[in-house]
């Protein structure tokens, strides 16, 4: 137990980096994922094809491979970053956006066809139908699964610890080595900080599911 208190600054440091990775990747993933979903239902065939291929490939790729690509292969292509966090954010948001896209798409499909028909019948264009009518309604049903994807993102950020970013999990490994006699408590500390993010998010998801999402 003492080992957690003694190393609190290291924990907090790792925790903040995990939080940073999660928030920034989460924002990018939400934006990119929604764009992908819009592309998936758009009239332009190439966009549909791109979106579908991207989602299929990324969903079937292990995250470690995605990290390897961003942290090792991209620098080989001449895309180097001084901050390794950038590689982690690229890997995490590229990976997560595929799941966001799928969630948004199923949300779009859950909006009754009549909504789109009504919007079309009053003369709205595709972009208007999507942004004014469908997406606002879809987002409500999509919020709970979306939060679950974000929870997964927080947990997935732990892979960055093996790819050059000293976040919470990496800090835990470092502390575990330095405190071979108190490994149990070191890891309990790490778990505590993860739960500090994931459990409240999970409760929030449940709450939203009950209160808001029962739009129909």
């Amino acid at each position: 137990m003492d080992v957690i208190i003694e190393n609190l600054p290291a924990y907090v440091d790792g925790f903040l980096r995990t939080l940073f990775l999660s928030v920034v990747s989460g924002i990018f993933a939400l934006i990119f994922g929604t764009l992908l979903a819009a592309a998936r239902v758009s009239p332009i065939a190439a966009l549909r094809g791109f979106s579908m291929t991207y989602v299929e490939i990324v969903r079937n790729t292990p995250l470690t491979i995605a990290f390897f690509f961003a942290a090792v292969v991209l620098p080989r292509l001449g895309v180097t970053f001084q901050q390794f966090e950038v590689a982690a954010i690229i890997a995490l948001s590229a990976y997560t956006s595929a799941f966001i896209a799928e969630a948004v798409r199923s949300g779009v499909n859950s909006v009754p066809v009549g909504q789109a028909e009504a919007a079309r019948s009053i003369g709205m264009k595709f972009s208007q139908v999507l942004s004014l009518i469908i997406l606002p309604q879809a987002l409500r049903t999509v919020i709970p699964p979306m939060i679950n994807i974000l929870i997964a993102l927080v947990k997935n950020s732990s892979v960055a610890g093996a790819f050059y970013v000293l976040e919470l999990f990496g800090t835990g490994r470092q502390l575990a080595n330095a405190n071979g006699d108190a490994v149990l408590w070191v890891l309990v500390g790490v778990a505590f900080f993860y739960l500090l993010i994931t459990v409240p998010l999970g409760y929030f998801a449940n709450l939203v599911e009950r209160k808001v999402a029962i739009a129909r």
């Binding site: 090792v72 390794f84 790819f163 000293l166 990496g170 071979g180």
Partner: protein, 293 residues
């Protein structure tokens, strides 16, 4: 057509040559020794030696990703100086090399593996220190390494550990060198899963240096002498490698200590070195003074 065929052939030759080269650079798995096995050695009844000897097999923990010391080859068998040490000791117990079960031990789980009896001994670039001595016993040391820095060939700005203050230095997450470079020299740690995973960021100049024991770095330099070099031949820590054993088995520990000295005298220590790490680090080390605590 003929030209094409010749080209294909030369490619294959080139590939196998490259492979042979890397094989030898890694300690020559194809030429690993099988030390002469002692015939029916006798030990005091109930001693660990007697138990292992009559069982005819032993479980030894080593690293699988440490060039020159313990690295798994393409055929799945570990090779290196640590592995040779393990084989020599097993041979003295009357156990041939093919009866040794090699288990991968990583830096973070070695003490636990010994305490819980998962392994009979650990030979895994295992630095002897007081904290670890409270949990396990060490025979040896059988080698003394030291922490060093490896940089890109064209880098002349880093020659001593003080030069990396505030700079990115890559090392393995949860390793002692990583701790030292941060705590004592104020470097920014870039953690990787294995030491070899540090090579790409160094090549791409995303980190200034890689730090770990000099012998490990020497292995990387030997493989790519045009890309990397050691920042300095001096080491800034002393890392005496010991053989990790269960605590309070003094009899076994002292017996291994005796064997280590015997290996030194009969030349098998030197041969083990020359067959493995000696391919890169030409000067064979002298056996450090055994610590018979």
């Amino acid at each position: 057509m003929k030209a094409f065929l010749t080209r294909r052939k030369s490619l294959l030759v080139a590939a196998s040559a490259a492979l042979a080269l890397s094989l030898s650079a890694c300690g020559g798995s194809s030429t690993t020794s099988n030390p002469p096995v002692a015939e029916k050695p006798s030990f005091a009844a109930d001693s660990t030696m007697a138990k292992l000897s009559s069982a005819g097999k032993i479980v030894i923990g080593t690293k699988f990703d440490q060039p020159l010391f313990g690295q798994k080859g393409l055929d799945g068998k570990p090779v290196g100086f640590d592995v040779e040490m393990g084989k020599l000791i097993a041979a003295k117990l009357g156990i041939p090399a093919d009866k040794i079960e090699w288990v991968e031990t990583v830096s973070a789980n070695r003490e636990q593996f010994i305490k819980q009896g998962k392994v009979d001994m650990i030979v895994a670039t295992y630095t002897i220190n007081d904290k670890r001595k409270t949990e396990v016993d060490f025979a040896g040391p059988y080698y003394e390494a030291g922490q060093a820095l490896m940089v890109n060939k064209d880098n002349s700005s880093i020659t001593k550990p003080e030069d990396v203050k505030g700079k990115n230095v890559c090392s393995v997450t949860g390793s002692t060198p990583a701790e030292t470079i941060v705590e004592k020299y104020g470097a920014i740690l870039v953690p990787a899963a294995t030491y070899s995973a540090c090579l790409e960021p160094l090549r791409n100049k995303q980190v200034e240096a890689i730090t770990t024991d000099n012998v490990i770095l020497a292995g990387f330099v030997a493989k790519e002498p045009d890309a990397f070099k050691l920042a300095s031949d001096e080491t800034f820590t002393k890392e005496p490698y010991g053989i990790g054993l269960k605590k309070d088995d003094t009899e076994f520990r002292m017996w291994i200590n005796d064997q280590l000295e015997a290996f030194d005298e009969d030349g098998s220590y030197k041969k083990a070195w020359e067959d493995t790490a000696g391919e890169v680090i030409k000067t064979a080390p002298a056996l450090p003074a055994i610590d018979r605590y």
